[in-house]
């Protein structure tokens, strides 16, 4: 009898739902944090006595398929200018979807973490007794940070002037998948769920020193939340990210995000300007 996945044995249990915190000043940055999402997963592998389960791996895969990430800065007065920083559009971020895996775990392996001590994967052994139930856990706690102050060096402004964080919006949308990888490398994506974390706020410095003594932070309620969808059976078919599951990735979402903050799309204006946040 060949080794197989027991039909209907895959199960995901959400053990902690994420929440988003209010943006907060952290050093010279505004930080966007939240509480973790946690889940467990299990799959049963079937085989005959003497079969080897070596190389059969159950684990979580996670893709990020939407990123919204922009912030708007304004000088003290109209003629101190404004800056729009767009991180989530090309060329800062060439593609929306990416393979989300922890630092130190190669995205080419697809799993969220291939490091056994992290508990995100479980692998069978040659001496396994069937049916073999493999259990795994999942944890994520996305966050971000932006500068409190950006210097506006627009040629029409004369000298560089400090512009202060005035508004920002961040949205990270994920799909987390419970998968089995055969020893030969073939993946079976069994169950999945969507979830996201969103922060939107406006900001006013309490004074105009650099950095300011503090900020009044006005959270936009409709844009500040965390959501988790229900568990979906079968291989994901969402074309917005299935390419990530079917092709070998070279960059993780952490690497993509690091690149977009290092080289964001930056627009400076000599006056307070209403930028179109939908554009790059």
């Amino acid at each position: 009898m060949a080794i197989s996945i027991k039909p209907g044995s895959a199960k995901i249990t959400l053990t902690a739902r994420p929440r988003v915190n209010r943006p907060a000043v952290s050093g010279t940055s505004m930080s966007y944090t939240g509480t973790p999402i946690k889940a467990t997963g299990e799959v049963t592998i079937l085989g005959a006595p003497g079969d080897s389960a070596a190389g059969w791996t159950v684990g979580f895969v996670q893709v990020q398929w939407i990123e919204t990430n922009w912030c708007f800065y304004r000088g003290q007065t109209h003629n101190d200018g404004s800056i729009f920083i767009q991180r989530a559009r090309p060329p800062a971020r060439p593609n929306q979807a990416c393979c989300d895996c922890v630092n130190g775990s190669p995205p080419s392996k697809l799993f969220y973490s291939t490091i056994p001590a992290h508990g995100e994967i479980a692998t069978g052994t040659a001496a396994a007794v069937f049916p073999l139930k493999l259990t795994v856990s999942h944890f994520d706690q996305p966050s971000d940070a932006v500068n409190l102050v950006e210097m506006n060096a627009h040629p029409a402004s004369g000298a560089a002037k400090p512009n202060f964080l005035a508004e920002s919006q961040m949205e990270f949308h994920f799909c987390t998948i419970l998968s089995v990888r055969e020893p030969g490398g073939m993946f079976h994506h069994l169950l999945s769920f969507y979830w996201n974390v969103l922060w939107e706020a406006t900001f006013q410095p309490t004074n105009f020193t650099n950095p300011p003594a503090g900020f009044r932070i006005n959270v936009v309620r409709a844009g500040s939340t965390a959501n988790v969808g229900h568990v979906i059976q079968g291989t994901p078919t969402d074309r917005r990210f299935t390419g990530i599951l079917n092709t070998r990735q070279v960059q993780s979402c952490n690497q993509v995000a690091s690149a977009e903050i290092t080289g964001p799309n930056r627009h400076e204006a000599a006056t307070w300007k209403n930028f179109d946040v939908r554009k790059a």
Binding site: T33, Q141, S143, C253
Partner: protein
């Protein structure tokens, strides 16, 4: 005449010995303050503090440039395995290059922000999409000289199953 030669010879020998002694004394007095002297593995002490994840680095040797990044190792049944984090020798949250260096003068103690147990944003809020809490488990900190030639390993500590209170 022979007696005189012997006396002069002994005087010269005694003088050479004295010079060597002075040179040795000077060398043994000053290396701790000279950045050019080589540190030994015990010259930089990594000490765990409370709560778990807090630590300090004391330099008992010569001035030294340390790598900004700190390695965290996990005890896997007696084998030490490196974890990937962004832990650094920073005392406050600020944007600074991870590949930088930190000068720790002789006698100075650095108390970095504590490790909150996370793989990303290990001390301060950071750009993280995948982010894992690495506890519970047994860990240790490894601080390195900037030139990579010396590692200073701290004692083992136990990270709890939840993030320590007071961490960012």
């Amino acid at each position: 005449m022979e007696e005189l030669r012997r006396t002069q010879g002994m005087k010269a020998l005694a003088f050479a010995f004295l010079v060597a002694l002075v040179a040795l004394s000077v060398a043994s007095l000053h290396p701790q303050h000279s950045p050019k002297s080589l540190p030994d593995e015990a010259s930089v002490l990594v000490r765990n503090l409370s709560p778990p994840g807090a630590f300090e680095v004391e330099n008992r040797g010569p001035d030294i440039e340390l790598a900004r990044t700190v390695t965290i190792q996990r005890d896997l049944k007696g084998e030490w395995s490196d974890e990937s984090t962004d832990l650094a020798l920073v005392e406050k949250c600020e944007k600074s290059p991870l590949n930088g260096r930190v000068l720790l003068p002789h006698g100075a103690t650095l108390r970095p922000l504590l490790w909150n147990g996370m793989s990303c944003g290990s001390q301060c809020a950071a750009t993280c999409r995948a982010n894992l809490y690495l506890g519970p488990g047994r860990f240790r900190f490894v601080v390195s000289s900037y030139d990579g030639k010396h590692n200073f390993t701290g004692p083992t500590f136990e990270m709890p199953s939840r993030r320590p209170r007071g961490s960012q």
